[in-house]
Each structure stands twice: as C-alpha cells, then as structure tokens.
C-alpha cells in the first residue's frame, strides 16, 4: 500500500541569537488513506512542530528542517510559491486549538469559506457561497444560512470550532491535520466535536493526524497511536495495543500518572523529574534520566527499535512486556 503521508528522518531545529532548540530529532511516520493517526505527547515533545512541518507553517528564517516529507506525491519540503499555496488547503488542511486565530476577524464566516473554494477550485462567488452553506450544514451549525453572514466573534466556542472544521474541509483535502482542536472546549462540547470529526473523516475518506496531550481524546479518535518524547516517536502501534500492551517506560508512566476511573486515594505512580532541555540532542535515550529501568547503555547510545507485536514498535533497550498495571 502506498502511504498518503510519508515522513522520513525529520529533524527540525529553531535558531535564535541565544540558543538552538532541537525540537524534532528524527521522526518517521506514515499515514494511509482514510486512517487516523493520534500523535500523543506532552508540551515540548515536538508533536505540534511535526504537524506544522507537514504544512510548512514554521517560520522559514529561524527554522532548519532536514529529512523528507511526502504527501500524496508532493515533495513538501521542496514546494515553493504557487505550488505551496495550491498544496495548502487543497491537499492538506489544518485545524487548530484556537479558531479565532484561524479566521480573519473582519470577514464573515461565509465569505472566508467561499474565498478558499474560489481560489482552489476556480469557482465563482455563488458556487463558493453555496459550498460554504453546504459545509456549515455538514458540521451541523444551527440556522446555517443565517450564520454565513456572522463574524467569528459572534459565535460561541463550539460553533467557531465547527466553522473552522467547515473551512478546513471546504476544498475536500486528502489529509487533515488537527492540532489539539478540542483542548480549549468544555467537556460536553469536546465530545460533540470529536464525534463530528470521526463522522466527517469516514464520510470524506480523509487521512487525519490528530495531535493531543490527552490520552482519552486520542483513544476516542485514533486507529493508530504514536507517542512522542523529546522530538522522537518512542512507541507506535494500534490504539488497542498501545493502551493494553504498552512497552516503553515513558508511555507506561504517562498512563500510570493519568488519573482515571476508580483510583481514589491510591498514590499516583508519577514519572519523576521533568522533560529535558532540548538545546542539545541527547546522545542516548532522552527519557533515560527519568526512567527507573535505565542502565548505563541507555544513556550512552540511542536505543534500538524493538518489535513488540504486529505493527507495534518501541524505541527502547528495556521494553516491558505484559499489560499495564494501572487499571480503572
């Protein structure tokens, strides 16, 4: 099967006058047609930077990118000018945590969606408006026709998120990148948006990469999961394998420290310490300083990629087998 998205050995460095940050340090990933990949990690793990690289959204002057990104036959890192503009929004589109930043505050929702359609499909204004209306209905915004002429600030948080999804999907992209789209939402609204995304993904047959720090959210939407730490993917597999047979000590620790179900009063098995400072690339395993199982070899050299099960791998010298102890 040829992958829709293929990322090979991606490295991203940010340079400022004072320091360099090694945000992504060798990420490989692939995404098939109609598949949802959850990219799970804490702040600074490089999950959002990886996602933004796919759309070339990182500031060019301060960013050094190495590696290869291929999306639906496009060599993304080589795209320039008109080709890049045609790629963004048509082949790959993105939704964000904060919809106010995705919309221009001085144009109506309807005009902004119509504009995207007019640019990418050489449609006229009437066709653009018609598509905008269709999209607002698709994402189930009540009284969609009236909402076409609403400005972003006139909508509630959940409605704005729906409108942003409508904008992102208006040109039927093949890949949707979702960067924590439900993090700022209330619980009862979050689940509505997750279900909507799942439904539209099936309907349009899109590939989706969904970045989140919330394991519960990742499990609700993903077919496969990849866990990032210090700019690398440390474990990947099907959502089921990754939650039931977690092998790498970092995702195991993350699960043990995530409060869920009936754990009342029990002491949390927290991961000690804090994530590393990424001004240098760690020689060995970046998690080793916080890992209870670490041995001298873990610090000295990068750990091997170990096959745990079918399509389930962990980058660890001492992967754990057996189910995760913390159960709710």
């Amino acid at each position: 099967m040829s992958a829709l998205v293929r990322v090979e050995d991606l490295h991203v460095r940010f340079r400022t006058a004072e320091r360099t940050v090694h945000a992504v340090n060798g990420v490989d990933l692939s995404l098939g047609q109609g598949e949802v990949l959850g990219l799970l990690g804490e702040s600074g793990s490089g999950k959002s930077v990886t996602l933004r690289s796919l759309l070339r959204l990182l500031p060019e002057r301060r960013t050094q990118t190495k590696g290869r990104i291929e999306v639906a036959g496009h060599d993304v890192l080589a795209l320039e000018g008109a080709a890049l503009r045609a790629y963004r929004g048509k082949v790959v589109s993105m939704i964000f945590q904060e919809p106010m930043l995705a919309f221009d505050p001085v144009f109506t929702i309807g005009d902004q969606i119509a504009e995207a359609v007019m640019r990418h499909e050489r449609a006229d204004r009437a066709a653009g408006r018609a598509r905008a209306l269709e999209m607002l209905e698709r994402v189930r915004i009540p009284s969609a026709r009236r909402r076409l002429d609403a400005y972003p600030h006139e909508m509630s948080g959940g409605m704005r998120q729906r409108a942003m999804i409508a904008l992102a999907l208006a040109c039927r992209p093949r890949v949707l990148l979702a960067d924590e789209p439900t993090t700022a939402l209330d619980a009862t609204v979050q689940i509505q948006i997750l279900l909507l995304l799942r439904e539209l993904q099936k309907e349009f047959g899109m590939g989706v990469i969904f970045v989140t720090h919330d394991i519960g959210v990742a499990l609700e939407v993903s077919d496969r999961l990849a866990v990032m730490y210090a700019g690398r993917i440390v474990e990947r597999g099907s959502a089921r394998d990754l939650i039931r047979a977690t092998a790498h000590p970092y995702p195991r620790g993350l699960l043990a420290s995530t409060v869920h179900g009936a754990m009342r009063g029990r002491r949390l098995d927290a991961i000690p310490g804090a994530p590393p400072d990424l001004s240098q690339v760690p020689e060995g395993c970046a998690f080793a300083p916080r890992c209870r199982l670490a041995e001298p070899a873990c610090v000295a050299a990068r750990p091997p990629v170990v096959e745990i099960g079918e399509a389930h791998v962990a980058e660890c010298r001492r992967p754990v087998t057996g189910s995760v102890p913390a159960e709710g």
Binding site: G158, A187, T188, I243, V259, H260, A274
Partner: protein, 348 residues
C-alpha cells in the same frame, strides 16, 4: 470589634470549617448612552454549602458556571452582593465576627497561572516569606519557614530559594505557589484549577504532593477543576455547578456512581472513554453551555435537558436530598416528588 481567629479548632469536628450561606454575585455589563447597565452576568446566583473539616470538596462545572467566581468569593477577593461566609462558627467581615485580614491567614488560595501569581521581582524564597512577614513574623523566622516549606514541596532550598519565577518550570512554580499558600499555616486551601496547566507526568507529582501536605498539616481543600477524573481522584465530596447555581452535591462515589441530575449525568458521559473498543457513540447533550448573561428562567439547564417539562421552564428547582444516600442533594424537579414533573421520583 472583630475577634482574632483561633489557631486551634473552635467548634469541634462537627462544625463546618467554612459555611457558605446564600451567596450572590452579579456583574453588570455597561454600555450605550450614559454608561447604563445593559445586562447582568449572574456569575454566582444563590449558593449554599458547607466545607467540612478535613475534607476535600471538589467543585466541577464548565466555563461560565461560576466556579472561579465562587473561589474568589470564598477568599473574599471579590465581595458578594448578598450572603455570608462563616469560618468555624465566626461570621467573616462583620463587626463582631472575623476580620478579612484574619480570615485570609486561615484561608489561602492557589491559582491556575503559576507565573502570574508570583511576583517576578522577588526570589521564590522571598515570595514565600512575604506573607508571614506582613503578618508580623520576624524576618529570620519567616525565611527559615520559607526554606522549610521549599524542602517540603520537593525543591531543595539551596538550589531554588534564590531563583526568580522565570527560572523555574511550570511544575516547579506551582510547587512554590503551594508553599506560598502554606506559609501562613492556613487550615483551608482553595485550589482553583491548580494542576490544570501542568503536563500529566507533572500533574501526578503535584497531586501526590497535595495529598501528602494535606495529611501532614491537617488541611482542608476546596479543589476546583474542569477535569472530572482529577476531581474524582482527590475529592471526598463533589459539588457540580451550572450557570451560577449548584445542581448537585454529594459524596464522590454517589456523584460518580449514581448521579441524579441530568446535567451531572451528561457531564460524566461526555468524558472520553479510555477503551478503544468502547468508544463514545453519541454525545450526551447538544449545543454549548448558554451564556451566563441573562440565563434562562426556571431550571437553568432546561434548554439542553432531554427531560424538560413545563415546570422546569417556569420554576427554579431547589436542592433536594436523596431518599437513601446521606448528604446527596440534587436541584432537579425530577428529584422532588412534590414538584409536579411527570417523571418525578415517587416518595420512597
């Protein structure tokens, strides 16, 4: 003449540490010609509850439900429009009660934003010692107390005491804020989304720390959060708010195991499933929480409630005790056999 607060327990274990009686706080929105009040945010609209000595009371709700306004009213960072606070039997801020200054020695708060709640120009040791010094503790003793507290929250005093807030990570800063809150030796600590901004691995460390400190210092917590898992983990009792009102309050197992208010049930079933084989199939309720500006009449949840009847649109339900579970109250006409709601529980 206000009386000084007793450091020791006053009313015995049965007396609530803090009693909240009929608290209201509305915020006017001004605009138009002559800056008239054009609307009112009914942030907190008549709430009553007790904080029992030694417990952790969790407060949950979505944005705009009034949980943070409640927190600020409890430490009197905001003045209520109406209602009173009674701290261990003493009315707060009245002539013959407890002065605000004394009350704040006993009731401290930790905020979500660990950076904004520390003075950027003070070292963390000085920030922690500041409160005690203002309250008359000699400088040397205050400094010693700050060092001791830094050690208690897991930050080596020699390595961290002289640092400034910007030199610390979010988790470390939140530890400093907890130490600062404890520096006055309070009995009640209000934690307003205190772990919400932290990554999961750090959040777990801070939750463990909070449990340890509670046992060590005999503290009582009011723990406010939108994270239902964390509230379930840490709380003894839970209070659920919706648009400025309490919809349900009770022991944590009763709230999570047998919720009585339709809103509580919806909130709980909106939590993501942790099982990829049993994903959520349907959203429990549609739409966004309504705006607390001019909330709906009657029961405030009736616009989103699948069980809404005529009585819900006209009359505001009061908190009613459950027939069996002790201390489990819900403000729903269905929980009140006398309400006239067609699906009301029959008196058991």
């Amino acid at each position: 003449m206000s009386v000084p607060a007793p450091d020791a327990d006053l009313g015995g274990p049965a007396q609530p540490l803090l009693a909240v009686r009929g608290l209201f706080r509305h915020f006017p929105i001004r605009g138009g010609l002559f800056n008239r009040t054009t609307a009112t945010v009914q942030a907190v609209d008549g709430i009553d509850f007790d904080v029992v000595k030694g417990e952790t009371l969790g407060i949950v709700g979505e944005s705009g439900c009034g949980k943070s306004t409640t927190a600020r009213l409890l430490v009197r960072l905001l003045d209520p429009d109406r209602g009173e606070l009674v701290y261990d039997g003493l009315p707060v801020g009245t002539q013959d009660g407890l002065s605000l200054r004394e009350m704040r020695r006993h009731v401290q708060m930790v905020f979500q934003d660990s950076f904004a709640s520390l003075n950027p120009r003070l070292t963390v040791a000085d920030s922690i010692a500041f409160g005690p010094r203002v309250h008359g503790v000699p400088a040397a003793e205050a400094t010693a107390r700050a060092r001791d507290l830094l050690a208690r929250v897991g930050l080596a005093p020699d390595a961290f005491g002289r640092r400034y807030p910007h030199e610390l990570s979010g988790g470390q800063r939140q530890r400093v804020n907890i130490a600062r809150a404890l520096a006055l030796r309070p009995r009640l600590v209000i934690l307003d989304e205190a772990v919400s901004a932290l990554d999961k691995s750090v959040e777990a460390q801070v939750l463990n720390l909070l449990q340890d400190l509670k046992a060590e210092f005999g503290l009582t917590y009011v723990f406010i959060s939108h994270d239902l898992n964390v509230v379930r983990y840490i709380s003894d009792r839970v209070l659920v708010m919706y648009l400025g009102r309490i919809v349900e309050i009770g022991p944590v197992d009763a709230i999570y195991g047998a919720p009585r208010h339709p809103y509580t049930r919806a909130l709980l079933s909106a939590m993501p499933s942790m099982d990829p084989d049993r994903r959520t199939l349907e959203a429990p309720i549609a739409g966004d929480p309504p705006n607390p500006i001019n909330p709906p009449p009657g029961c405030r949840f009736h616009t989103r409630c699948p069980f809404a009847a005529d009585v819900c649109r006209t009359r505001m339900p009061e908190l009613v005790a459950a027939p069996v579970a002790h201390g489990h109250l819900a403000a729903c006409h269905m929980a009140d056999p006398a309400s006239g709601h067609p699906q009301a529980e029959t008196a058991a």
